[in-house]
C-alpha cells in the first residue's frame, strides 16, 4: 500500500489584503470585492510507495513547496485529501524550533518533542544526536552562540534521529559546509538503504539525480510527468532553458551551465559546460552567478550572468558550426580593475566516459574512490595544449578545442568526488608569471573554442 497518497489535491490561496492593497487598488472598495485567488496546486493525484525516494522538481512557483507543506500537514489542501501512513519528519529549514536562549541540550529535547517524540525516546537518542552533530563541546551553551553550521548540524541530527518512516527534504543539502553536506548525503543514502521513504524538493538537479529513484515534474501546480530521474530532468531542462542544435546534438542553457545531448541522450551531467573563476582563493562557479534569461537569435544562444560577489559579468555565446560542433565564446566584463588567479572552461561528463586524450597524452579515467570528496586531477600536464577529449563505450566522443587566441590553456582531466560522479574536461587559463591575471575595466574575450560531439566512440579518431 502506498505510504503517501495524494488524491485530487487542490490548494487555493486567496491573496491577502493589506494596507498596501487598500492604498493602491481602488481604496476601501477593495474590501467588498472578492479577493484574487491563486491555485498553487491544481487537482494533483499521485502515490509514493514505501522505500522509494522521490524528487519533486519544477520552477519557482510551480507548487513544490506547497505540496511538501501539505504532505507535512503544516497546511491543509483546499480540497482533496492526503493520507500519510507512518511517522513523517520534515527536514524543512533545520532547527526551526530552536530557542536561541536555550542550550543545545535543552533544545534537543524541545525539538524532539515538537517532532513528536517522547522524553524517554529522546533520552535514548541523545548520545547519538550529540555524536552525529559533532558539537559535544558546546552542547551546554545557548544555541545563539552557535555558528550557523552548528545550528543546522544539530537540527539535522535531531531530525534524523527521531526515526520516522518518511523524510521530507527541502533544500537542506545546500546549507552548511562541504563536510556537513557530504555527511548529510551519506546519511540520506543510509536512510534509503534502511528502506525509509524520502521525498526531495530541490533546485539542485544533481542531488535529485543522485539520490532519487523517481522524479515528479510540476508546472503551474500540475504534474507534467513522472519517471526516471534522468528522463524527467532532461525534460525539465528542455522546458526551462533555451535550446539550439547542431546536427543531432542539442545544447540547452540552464542558469550558468550548458547541457549537451546527442541523439536524445544527455552526455553532460552535474556541472555540464560551465566556467570557474578563481578569485581571492575562492572558486566561483558560473552556475552560482545571477543569469538573465538566455536568448536565441539567428540560431545562436547568448546569455549574460553577473557575479553576486565581485564586480564582473560573463557573456556567453554558443553558435552551431557544422554538424555536432559548436563555437563557444566567453567574455569577461570587469566593472573595475580586477585580479584573478586563474579561470577555466569545464565540461562535466557522465561517468560512463572512460578514456581521455590530449595532444600530449592519453589514458583511462581511474574509477571513483568512494572516500573521495574533492576533485582529483587525472593528468598532470603543465604544458599548454589546444585540445582535450573523452570517449566511452556506446557514447559519442566529446572534445574541447581552444582556438583563435594567443593565450595558452592547459588541458586537464578531472574526476570529481564520489557523490558527483562526474568526469571533467577542463581548459585552464593560468597566469604566465606568479602574480595572477590582471584585468582593467572593460570587456575581454576569455575563451573561444570548439565543442565537438562525434558519434564514433574512437577517441583517437577525433583528436
Amino acid at each position: 500500500m502506498a505510504i503517501i497518497q495524494i488524491q485530487n489535491v487542490t490548494k487555493t490561496f486567496r491573496l491577502r489584503r493589506g494596507a498596501q492593497t487598500l492604498l493602491t487598488k481602488g481604496g476601501l472598495r477593495a474590501l467588498w470585492r472578492p479577493r484574487e485567488r491563486l491555485n498553487a496546486l491544481d487537482d494533483i493525484s499521485f502515490e509514493i510507495e514505501p522505500g522509494r525516494s522521490v524528487g519533486i522538481i519544477g520552477r519557482n512557483g510551480s507548487g513544490k513547496s506547497t505540496l511538501l507543506k501539505i504532505m507535512a500537514g503544516v497546511t491543509v489542501p483546499t480540497s482533496g485529501s492526503v493520507t500519510v501512513r507512518g511517522r513523517l519528519v520534515s527536514l524543512l529549514e533545520l532547527g526551526a524550533g530552536f530557542h536561541p536562549l536555550l542550550t543545545g541540550r535543552e533544545n534537543i529535547f524541545l525539538n524532539g518533542q515538537i517532532l513528536g517524540m517522547s522524553r524517554a525516546q529522546m533520552q535514548r537518542a541523545f548520545d547519538d544526536i550529540v555524536e552525529f552533530s559533532g558539537i559535544a563541546d558546546s552542547i551546554d551553551n545557548p544555541v545563539n552562540t552557535y555558528s550557523s553550521g552548528m545550528f543546522v548540524r544539530l537540527g539535522f541530527a535531531v531530525a534524523v534521529h527521531t526515526n520516522p518512516d518518511i523524510f521530507l527534504v527541502d533544500e537542506v543539502l545546500s546549507v552548511g559546509d562541504e563536510e556537513f553536506q557530504r555527511r548529510c548525503r551519506s546519511r540520506i543514502n543510509e536512510l534509503r538503504q534502511q528502506g525509509k521513504t524520502i521525498v526531495f524538493v530541490s533546485h539542485d538537479l544533481n542531488i535529485v539525480n543522485a539520490l532519487c529513484d523517481d522524479v515528479i515534474l510540476l508546472k503551474k501546480g500540475q504534474i507534467v510527468s513522472r519517471g526516471a530521474p534522468r528522463t524527467i530532468i532532461d525534460l525539465y531542462l528542455r522546458q526551462l532553458g533555451r535550446e539550439i542544435s547542431a546536427g543531432s546534438t542539442t545544447a540547452t542553457f540552464y542558469q550558468g551551465a550548458i547541457v549537451l545531448a546527442h541523439g536524445g541522450l544527455t552526455i553532460t551531467q552535474s556541472v555540464h559546460l560551465h566556467t570557474q573563476t578563481h578569485i581571492d582563493h575562492m572558486w566561483a562557479m558560473s552556475h552560482d552567478m545571477q543569469w538573465d534569461d538566455a536568448i536565441v537569435e539567428d540560431g545562436c544562444l547568448r546569455a549574460t550572468g553577473r557575479s553576486h560577489r565581485y564586480p564582473y559579468r560573463q557573456h556567453w555565446e554558443l553558435r552551431p558550426a557544422g554538424d555536432d560542433t559548436f563555437v563557444f565564446k566567453v567574455w569577461f566584463e570587469a566593472f573595475e580593475p580586477m585580479d584573478i588567479q586563474e579561470y577555466n572552461v569545464s565540461l562535466g561528463l557522465r561517468p560512463e566516459y572512460t578514456f581521455w586524450q590530449t595532444e600530449h597524452a592519453s589514458g583511462a579515467f581511474p574509477p571513483f574512490d568512494p572516500k573521495e570528496t574533492e576533485w582529483r586531477h587525472v593528468n598532470r600536464s603543465y604544458t599548454s595544449a589546444r585540445t582535450v577529449g573523452a570517449g566511452g563505450e556506446n557514447l559519442p566522443s566529446v572534445q574541447i578545442e581552444a582556438t583563435g587566441q594567443s593565450e595558452s590553456f592547459r588541458m586537464t582531466l578531472i574526476n570529481t568526488g564520489y557523490e558527483q560522479h562526474t568526469r571533467v574536461l577542463q581548459a585552464m587559463r593560468t597566469p604566465d608569471g606568479s602574480q595572477g591575471l590582471h584585468f582593467e575595466k572593460g570587456r575581454f574575450l576569455w575563451f573561444e573554442g570548439l565543442v565537438r560531439v562525434k558519434k564514433d566512440s574512437e577517441c583517437s579518431g577525433t583528436v
Binding site: 507543506k69 492526503v82 526551526a96 524541545l110 518533542q113
Partner: protein
C-alpha cells in the same frame, strides 16, 4: 502505525481538539518550562523580577492613588490601600500579560508553525501558562506583602477560594488568547488594538478603585445606573477582581451570583475562542 489524513474538513473538526491536546501535553509543559528558563536567563536578577514587578507597580500606584490623587471611593489608608491595589493588580497583570503574550504567540513562533505540524493550540496555551506562573508568584508576593504590612492574621481561610477564581480566569484568558492570536495571524491590527483595549481596560476594571456597586453614586436615574452597572459587568475582569477582593481583602465568601456570572462568561468565551482558533488553525502556515 500512525495514519494521518489531511483534508480540509478533518483538520478543522472540533472533536479533534481534545485528543490532539492530550497527545501534546508533554510538549506543552516543555514549551512552558523552557520559555520560563529562557526568559530570565539573561537577566542578572533572574526570577526575582517576577516578584519585583508587581511590588514596584504596587508601590508606584499606591503613592499616586493612595496619597496624591483623587478621592476615589473606599480607598482606605496607605497600608490597606496598597493591599487593596495589589489584589486587583496581580490578576490584572496576569490578564494583560497573558493576552499580550498569547496574541503575539503565533507570530512569534511563525517559523515553527510553517515547518512542523503539531496541534497549534499548544502555542497560545503555553503563552497563557507562562503568564500564569508569574501570576502565582504574584499571589505569593501579595500574601507576603499582607503579612509584612498587616500581620499573619490578615491571611484568612477565604484564600482557599482563590484557586477557584484563578481557575475561572485561566479559562477566560485561554479563550481570549486563542481568539485574538488567531485573528492576529490575519490582521496584525489585532495586536495594536489589544494594547489600546488593555490601557482602557485598566481603568474600566476595579483595580485602582472599588467596584462601584449598583452605581448609586452616579448622578443618573436608578434605571440608567442599573444598565450602566450591567454594561460594566460585561467586562469579565470586573467580576473576577471583585471576587478576588472578597476572598483576599474582605475575607468573606465571594458573591455566588458574581461567581456564577464570571464562570459563565469564561466558559462561553473559552468555547468561542476554541472554535475560532480551530477553524483557522489548519491554514495558519499560509498566512504567517
Amino acid at each position: 502505525m500512525t495514519i494521518s489524513v489531511y483534508t480540509d474538513a478533518e483538520q478543522r473538526k472540533l472533536s479533534r481538539i481534545f485528543p490532539d491536546l492530550l497527545r501534546s501535553r508533554h510538549l506543552l509543559l516543555d514549551l512552558v518550562s523552557k520559555e520560563l528558563r529562557a526568559r530570565y536567563r539573561n537577566a542578572a536578577m533572574g526570577f526575582v523580577w517576577a516578584i519585583l514587578q508587581p511590588v514596584l507597580m504596587m508601590s508606584i500606584l499606591t503613592v499616586i492613588f493612595g496619597y496624591i490623587a483623587f478621592g476615589l471611593p473606599q480607598r482606605g489608608t496607605g497600608k490597606s490601600y496598597a493591599i487593596f491595589l495589589l489584589c486587583g493588580l496581580v490578576p490584572w497583570q496576569f490578564f494583560s500579560s497573558a493576552l499580550v503574550l498569547g496574541t503575539q504567540s503565533l507570530l512569534a513562533n511563525g517559523t515553527l508553525i510553517k515547518k512542523v505540524y503539531f496541534p497549534r493550540e499548544v502555542i497560545p496555551i503555553a503563552a497563557v501558562l507562562n503568564a500564569l506562573v508569574n501570576a502565582l508568584i504574584g499571589f505569593a508576593t501579595l500574601a507576603i506583602v499582607m503579612v509584612v504590612l498587616e500581620g499573619v492574621d490578615s491571611i484568612s481561610i477565604h484564600w482557599l477560594y482563590v484557586p477557584a477564581i484563578l481557575g475561572i480566569q485561566v479559562v477566560l484568558v485561554m479563550g481570549l488568547a486563542m481568539m485574538l492570536s488567531a485573528w492576529n495571524v490575519y490582521y496584525h491590527d489585532v495586536g495594536y488594538m489589544l494594547e489600546v483595549a488593555l490601557a482602557f481596560g485598566f481603568y474600566a476594571s476595579p483595580i485602582i478603585y472599588a467596584l462601584p456597586n449598583n452605581m448609586a453614586s452616579l448622578p443618573v436615574s436608578p434605571t440608567v445606573a442599573q444598565w450602566l452597572y450591567r454594561l460594566y459587568m460585561l467586562n469579565p475582569m470586573a467580576s473576577l477582581i471583585t471576587l478576588y477582593r472578597d476572598a483576599i481583602c474582605k475575607s468573606v465568601i465571594p458573591d455566588i451570583g458574581l461567581f456564577a456570572w464570571a464562570a459563565f462568561l469564561a466558559i462561553v468565551i473559552f468555547l468561542l475562542g476554541l472554535y475560532i482558533f480551530r477553524r483557522h488553525a489548519p491554514t495558519f502556515a499560509d498566512h504567517l
